[in-house]
């Protein structure tokens, strides 16, 4: 028998298993203690988390008794700053291990910045998109019908409550010394705002005109953009997926979507395996996180970055007071 026979034979396995493999991690979920570091022990067994939680508690108490409480650092401003404390009530989808992992609410012995919690990769649901949406192109706003206003940083801060700069920005990325500006459109007839989408980019390098620049041979620059709108994001980055799965960040549902996109130069003499375009120089990843917080719709788009980084950025927007440490947590080395 050959491998090919097996490949055909596997078609006859019980449909229950095929269904199981299809819906695995169907409902993405992140432990409500959430967000401030990605579990180094991802994929570990639940009992292992119990040990980790116990070790965390012991070390935290030991640290407090030996060193005394840490001074509380002023937290960054951000939309999540006004979010009420995280509830530690177990939810329907929460496992006991995750509940035990969650630190006690408003623990007086531990500063908010000192909390260490877990994001388990098992509960992160990523949707696969076919590619870029045509909606990413901005609509033409006829000046005869719409009035254009340019808002400065103060107006943006007043409007959204923050400056769209997450507490966590991956190393090597900067805002390029630029703040955030916003061009809004009003209906001339009614005076109502009809578009209010603001965006702020953080990139590895910038051209003189402020546009993002790549630092290597790949033409696509590395970095991310935070977009916000109270009226709703009009220019979605990626094509919608059939059955959207969400990842639960405490009480906020975050939709994570991924697409692998080609970049040039393209070889006009060959087609890529999909047959959709000429053979590209390579492919890059684009991840988009969308969520609504305090009535503002957000879209964080990261290109040529790891999913882990995007999760940390989103976590720092949702909960800016939390300390973000990747790969180290709960007292584990």
């Amino acid at each position: 028998m050959s491998g090919k026979h097996l490949l055909y034979g596997i078609n006859y396995v019980n449909q229950r298993y095929i269904q199981e493999a299809e819906i695995y991690v169907k409902n993405g979920y992140i432990c409500p203690s959430f967000k401030n570091y990605v579990n180094k022990w991802r994929g570990a067994r639940p009992y292992f988390h119990c040990f980790a939680a116990a070790a965390c508690l012991c070390l935290a108490l030991l640290g407090v008794f030996r060193l005394g409480p840490n001074p509380v650092a002023p937290g960054p401003d951000g939309p999540g700053a006004a979010v009420p404390p995280v509830s530690r009530e177990p939810t329907a989808t929460q496992t006991p291990a995750e509940v035990s992992q969650a630190p006690a609410q408003a623990d007086p012995l531990q500063s908010p910045a000192g909390r260490q919690d877990t994001i388990n990769w098992r509960f992160v649901a990523v949707n696969e998109s076919e590619g870029l949406s045509a909606d990413a192109t901005r609509l033409y706003m006829d000046p005869a019908l719409y009035e254009v206003e340019h808002w400065d940083m103060d107006q943006v801060r007043e409007y959204f409550g923050w400056e769209l700069a997450p507490a966590y920005i991956p190393e090597g990325l900067t805002g390029g010394g630029q703040g955030v500006g916003l061009t809004v459109y009003r209906d001339k007839a009614s005076g109502e705002l009809i578009e209010d989408q603001a965006g702020r980019g953080f990139w590895v390098d910038f051209y003189e005109d402020g546009s993002p620049k790549s630092e290597d041979d790949i033409v696509i620059p590395k970095g991310f953009t935070v977009r916000a709108s109270k009226l709703g994001i009009l220019h979605c980055a990626l094509l919608p997926v059939d059955e959207e799965r969400v990842t639960q960040f405490d009480r906020t549902e975050v939709t994570l979507t991924h697409a692998s996109l080609p970049y040039g130069p393209f070889d006009p003499t060959q087609r890529d395996p999909s047959g959709l375009y000429n053979m590209p120089a390579g492919y890059y990843d684009i991840y988009v996180a969308t969520f609504t917080l305090d009535g503002v719709e957000y879209e964080v788009e990261a290109q040529r970055m790891e999913l882990e980084e995007l999760i940390k950025i989103v976590a720092s927007i949702l909960s800016p007071h939390e300390d973000i440490t990747v790969g180290v947590g709960c007292g584990m080395p």
């Binding site: 055909y8 034979g9 078609n11 019980n14 095929i18 493999a21 695995y24 991690v25 696969e128």
Partner: protein, 184 residues
Amino acid sequence: MEDREIVEKLFFRDDTALEELEKKYGSRLLKLAGRFLRSREDAEEAVSDAWLRAWNTIPPNRPEHLFAYLAKLCRYAALEKVDWLTAGKRSAVVVELTEELSQCLPDPAFEREREGREIGEVLDDFLAGLDREKRVMFLRRYWYGDPIREVAARCGVGESRAKTTLFRLRRKLKDHLEKEGIFV
């Protein structure tokens, strides 16, 4: 629309069921077929074939898991397409000889079906003995044809761990098949 309602429509020979299937599962099946077939047109053909087979087999079948049922039909159609495309690349003499000799076999399609079912039963036993995560990892890789990276992301592990687990699973499967008298 719920799967149950779509199946009911198929039982009543209501062809809007096919539209519902296309709407609900079309792109997922296209992606599955695309794992095995390089061109989009071929993948679309495999999906169309799956719809036709679903129409012809429901009734009498009433699948408990509709997606799994359709995915199986689609995968089968895609692999048949791969066979057909590969045959095109073989030399004309080999194709001619194979065709002549295949006339000696009772029914190649039936034979393959029988053989596939036997292997399927052995694989069922193997899969039943695995924990859920490993089973999902195995099927995502070898049934759905997912790249290692996607398998790892779905199962919440790093790529290297996914590769190691799959390597061990292959070795374990080899032992299992040998115990059952199947030698790869």
